[in-house]
Amino acid sequence: MARTVEFTDTEFMIAQGARLLEDGKTFFVGWGIPQIVAILAQKLYVPNVVQLFEFGAVGPQSVLPFVRGTMGGPQNTYRSLQWLNMNWAFSYSASGYMDYGMLGALQVDPYGNINSTYLGGTFEKPERRFAGSGGGNQVASHCWRTVIIIKHEGRRFVPKVEFVTSPGYLTGPGAREKAGLPKNTGPYRVVTSKALFGFDESTRQMTLLSVLRGLSPEGVVADMAFRPIVPKDVGEIHPPTADELRLLREEIDPSRIIIKGEMMSASA
């Protein structure tokens, strides 16, 4: 009988994110979880990925363990190819050199629009205020493929985000181009703590691609505040591998401050 693996929802999201990247491509890394994804991916799967940080670190190879909270520190920007500034960093993405971008989100809608600004109330008088765009708007606007990482809680998947912090497909096919955003860009995948979503070519709507081993597609989409497209064939995502977990727990975040979260399990 299959062995059971235990892991946190965060660890699962990080592992999924890391598996999405291609080697020899560029990766615009957002603050927080995406930093861990980049480190894990580069160690395990894509040694030649070129990371870009918005404040001008090109091609950093972080020192381990990861120092929480920081992004501009010597550990994070260690052995970069080039150190520049923010306007240069966004020039790389604006002129098409950035293949992947990865962002967290508070809320996401069927078109992959991201809200990371506020929840409830109005912009002027929100009920809860969060960090907002940072460079997220630029990443989602410029990168060829934007990957969204979000905890799988129904209330986070809404028919319409309260505030479009970073653009997805906006109102649907052609809307990005109409708004003047660079052609052929947009959200590529949504990584959650239960599943992986893509976007339908024709409708630009979120589509379930695969779910964590042991979960049912219907169970996964049941509590989402909008219903994504659920095709007949939905794939299976294996849980974090021993290598992924060992690296995360022993080398990248031994203090377990970033990778902590709700415990989950699945058969290996």
Binding site: G72, P74, S133, L181
Partner: protein
């Protein structure tokens, strides 16, 4: 004053490039004079109530924390903060009643600042990091705006004064952001000379842009070096002296943040900042670390201590590339 414009619900800081040029002509001396002074002196002379201030980098990395604490100590009012990473500085400036508006950027972190926004104690405008950096570049380049192909399609457009025009070359929509010429820029650097020539090692947000675009520039430096050092190594100069109004010698000036290759971040102190939620906690923190000490030196002696500083220095083991 005339440097504040309004566009719908949005107030934004703007002046005609000609007004800024006139200021530069009249008020920015090109003479190499000794500008070394105490933080208290620099802040009292150069930072006024209602000023718009920017800084480089953040409270976690090479931020001008000693200068921010001095601004709080001198109880400036109604400041408008524009910075990519408005982290703990913004919480402290708002908590101390110094700041009433913030252009973001990334508004983080700890719950205090988010709550302050919800309570309406501080007004926030959204420009995004790319938009703010571009506004400052426009201010430095002496043009009224710069174009960009982001912000488009997002709701940030509606809560900023960015405009969308039809590009005359392609006919497609392009976003314009207005130039930003702050009243004051705080820039913490590794090395400076008494005239204001300054060097940063590692990445920066917009150090040269901000120095060029701002009416007044205060540089705080870990180390004061001889002016000749800059002429021996011109590729290493981040900011030339004639952009700078005051130079403050502030070892550990980025504390509790890290100064790359000099000392590491004090995560325990940062956690205390992150933990601030109530007004009482804020008052206590400010009293202990700002009002309760005469200056940065007393803060280091009484609140940090030589042993801690020694330890943080010893943790800064990565020096490769920082020269």
């Amino acid at each position: 004053m005339s440097r504040i414009r309004r566009e719908g619900k949005v107030e934004f800081r703007f002046e005609h490039p000609d007004e800024f040029r006139e200021f530069v002509r009249e008020s920015k001396s090109r003479k190499p004079t000794d500008k070394l002074c105490a933080a208290s002196d620099a802040v009292s002379r150069l930072v006024k109530d209602g000023d718009y201030i920017v800084y480089d980098f953040s409270s976690l990395t090479r931020g001008p924390q000693a200068l921010i604490r001095e601004v709080i100590r001198q109880r400036r009012k109604d400041l408008w903060i524009g910075a990519e990473f408005t982290l703990h500085e913004s919480a402290l400036l708002v908590g101390a009643g110094c700041a009433s508006r913030i252009d973001v950027g990334f508004l983080g972190y700890g719950n205090y600042i988010g709550q302050a926004v919800c309570d309406g104690r501080v007004k926030v405008y959204e420009w995004t990091n790319g938009g703010l950096a571009l506004r400052i570049l426009a201010g430095a380049r002496g043009v009224p705006f710069l174009p960009t192909r982001d912000l488009l399609g997002s709701d940030n457009l509606a809560v900023s004064a960015a405009k969308v025009i039809k590009d005359p070359y392609t006919g497609t929509p392009v976003c314009l952001v207005p130039a930003l010429n702050p009243d004051v820029a705080f820039i913490h650097v590794h090395q400076a000379d008494v005239y204001g020539d300054a060097r940063i090692f590692g990445t920066n947000l917009f150090a040269l842009e901000a120095a060029m675009a701002s009416h007044r520039v205060i540089v705080s430096a870990e180390e004061i070096v001889a002016p000749d050092e800059f002429r021996k190594d011109p590729m290493r100069t981040t900011i030339p002296y004639f952009l700078v109004d005051a130079v403050v010698h502030a070892p550990f000036g980025a504390y509790p943040g890290a100064m790359p290759a000099r000392y590491e971040i004090d995560l325990e102190h940062v956690d205390r900042l992150n933990a601030i939620r109530s007004e009482e906690q804020m008052r206590n923190y400010l009293h202990e670390n700002v009002y309760g000490v005469a200056d940065h030196e007393e803060f280091l002696d009484k609140r940090v201590g030589a042993a801690r500083m020694k330890e943080l220095r010893s943790r800064a083991t990565i020096i490769e590339g920082y020269r």
